[in-house]
């Protein structure tokens, strides 16, 4: 694997003195889907803007495909497609014209076949002659994506591509992203929807307060930081957790029919064996046992709390 985007010590202090990026180091592999997660104001958009030329970094370097984004901006930007977070489109222009404009702006010769393909992929072909102002919000977002794809980028930045998009359409977009990945495009997306990162990303980066807390393979991240719940269903209901089991931090649920034990998969010992023998020692009869991996959301909330603590 080779890195297509190399970010080294990237810093950004805005004019008002606010430090939005505090030294980011990140290598993005060719052909991967990287999801950037982080709360509002974490610096996700600032990071993308610094790579794409919207803002000027105050420190550090970024290269895309070996081109420095400041010194060799033509080389770098020619490879990049950007779908911004905000819906920003010329309201009175026809859909197909804005898409053609984007292609021209990036210096690509007109290619109607490609424009048609992009519009069809995004189910916008029927709307090609509609003016932007006549489109629904979800359609506008797809126009933004069409504009970014019009010039055949090798690296695609999607800043919250599915914000305000319904479930159906979100699935469609995920499919589009998967197709792009199959075509070799490297994709960086930011999202607030954890399930989105979980569903489509290869790696996940977590940003908070201008710092990259971690970047890891999705599976590894889930495993490393994953906490698991062990749910123990009982044959007979109990009123309270028996005194001798209190140190396990069990939670009584379902009107006394179930107990939940949370443990760290990473921990040296999970304590499950001991718990099970203590349960029978306490005279409880088990009906069923299930384990459940905690979602990224829970992992994420845990991380951010840790980071700010």
């Amino acid at each position: 694997m080779t890195a297509i985007v190399e970010i080294r010590g990237l810093r950004k202090t805005y004019d008002d003195g606010f430090e939005a990026l505090k030294g980011i180091d990140l290598s993005i592999e060719q052909g991967e889907i990287l999801a950037l997660l982080g709360p509002n104001g974490a610096g996700k958009t600032t990071l993308i803007s610094s790579i794409c030329g919207i803002t000027v970094p105050t420190g550090g370097t970024v290269s895309v495909g070996g081109h420095d984004v400041v010194r060799d901006y033509r080389g770098a930007r020619a490879m990049i497609g950007l779908v911004p977070q905000e819906i920003t489109l010329e309201p009175f222009e026809k859909v197909i014209r804005t898409v053609r404009f984007s292609r021209g702006l990036f210096g690509k010769a007109p290619d109607e076949a490609h424009v048609e393909k992009v519009l069809r992929t995004l189910s916008l072909w029927d709307k090609r002659n509609a003016r932007v102002i006549e489109l629904s919000g979800g359609m506008k977002r797809r126009v933004l994506i069409a504009k970014a794809l019009s010039h055949e980028p090798r690296v695609l930045f999607l800043d919250e591509p599915t914000a305000g998009v319904d479930v159906e359409l979100r699935k469609d977009m995920w499919a589009t992203v998967a197709d792009l990945k199959a075509a070799g495009v490297t994709i960086i997306l930011t999202t607030h929807y954890i399930e989105e990162a979980e569903a489509i990303a290869d790696r996940i980066g977590v940003i908070n307060d201008g710092q990259l807390l971690l970047v890891e393979e999705k599976a590894a991240l889930m495993q490393r930081l994953g906490r698991k719940d062990l749910r123990i269903e009982l044959q007979h209901p109990i009123d309270a957790v028996p005194e001798m089991l209190s140190h396990y931090g069990l939670v009584l649920e379902d009107g006394g029919m179930a107990l939940t034990y949370t443990y760290d998969t990473q921990g040296e010992r999970t304590g499950i064996t001991q718990l099970l023998s203590d349960l029978s020692g306490a005279g409880l009869v088990l009906r069923d046992i299930q384990t459940r991996q905690s979602s990224l959301e829970e992992i994420f909330v845990g991380l951010v709390k840790e980071g700010t603590a």
């Binding site: 803002t55 021209g104 010769a109």
Partner: protein, 253 residues
């Protein structure tokens, strides 16, 4: 030089113009006609001739200049301010193009529109008065240079402006008065001596005078000075543009 990109911006800007072509065409025709009715008929009946040229013909270069300057500024400032305002500027900033290419696209389109309107006014005027242009090439050259330099100024204003008020402030408070006081509708020699001297500090005087020279072969100031003025003004705008480019002032945060 990324010509495809320059052309893309140019065409996109021009399409806005063509969408409202009729409107773009009619308003200069009407306003020119009004000027002729008011200035030509009312004042012209009192002032017969200015230095051997009928008053109606005399005001034509000034009329064209007035329109061309304000149109260049308005078109260019709006052209770059609007994408900043609605946010579509992100795409221009993220494109593999230099600032110079961005300027060429926007300023080129704004100047073209102004040139078109200048031509419409010239044509409309020729319906009211007899016009004989002594130096046609110089006339076209002057007009093109004026369109370009004022479109550059407009571009700078569009980048500088933080809201619509500021966008209109400079044309309204500075350019329009300078143009009106710059001898659009009178010869400087008609003013009292003190005012003649003061007027010479108005840069627009040199432009209008030079432009009038191309029409009638007569001028308030030597034609060389006029050329120097328009050249200097263009250079000044280019320097400011270059500085904006270097610093990313008010475009890239």
């Amino acid at each position: 030089m990324n010509w495809t990109a320059i052309l893309a911006i140019y065409k996109f800007e021009m399409s806005r113009f063509f969408r409202t072509l009729l409107q773009s065409f009619i308003s200069p025709v009407i306003s020119t006609s009004l000027y002729f009715v008011v200035f030509g008929a009312a004042i012209g009946s009192r002032i017969d001739q200015v230095e051997g040229v009928s008053y109606g013909a005399f005001i034509v270069p000034g009329l064209i200049m007035l329109a061309v300057m304000t149109q260049s500024i308005t078109n260019a400032s709006f052209g770059i301010y609007f994408p900043k305002f609605i946010g579509t500027i992100y795409e221009v900033l993220s494109a593999p193009i230099s600032f110079l290419e961005v300027v060429m696209g926007y300023v080129g389109a704004a100047a073209t529109k102004a040139l078109f309107i200048g031509a419409v006014i010239l044509f409309t005027s020729s319906l009211f008065v007899e016009l004989e242009i002594q130096h046609p090439i110089a006339m076209v050259g002057f007009m093109v240079l004026t369109c370009l330099s004022f479109a550059l100024l407009g571009f700078i204003i569009g980048i500088w402006a933080k809201n619509f008020e500021q966008l209109q402030l400079v044309p309204l408070l500075i350019v329009t008065p300078l143009v009106f006081l710059g001898g659009s509708f009178y010869s400087i020699s008609m003013l009292p001596p003190v005012w003649q001297t003061i007027t010479l500090f108005n840069p627009v005087v040199y432009l209008i005078s030079g432009f009038r020279w191309a029409f009638f072969g007569m001028a308030d100031v030597p034609i060389g000075l006029s050329l120097l003025a328009i050249g200097g003004f263009t250079a000044l705008c280019l320097v400011v543009i270059w500085w904006i480019f270097k610093t990313g002032w008010r475009i890239r945060s």
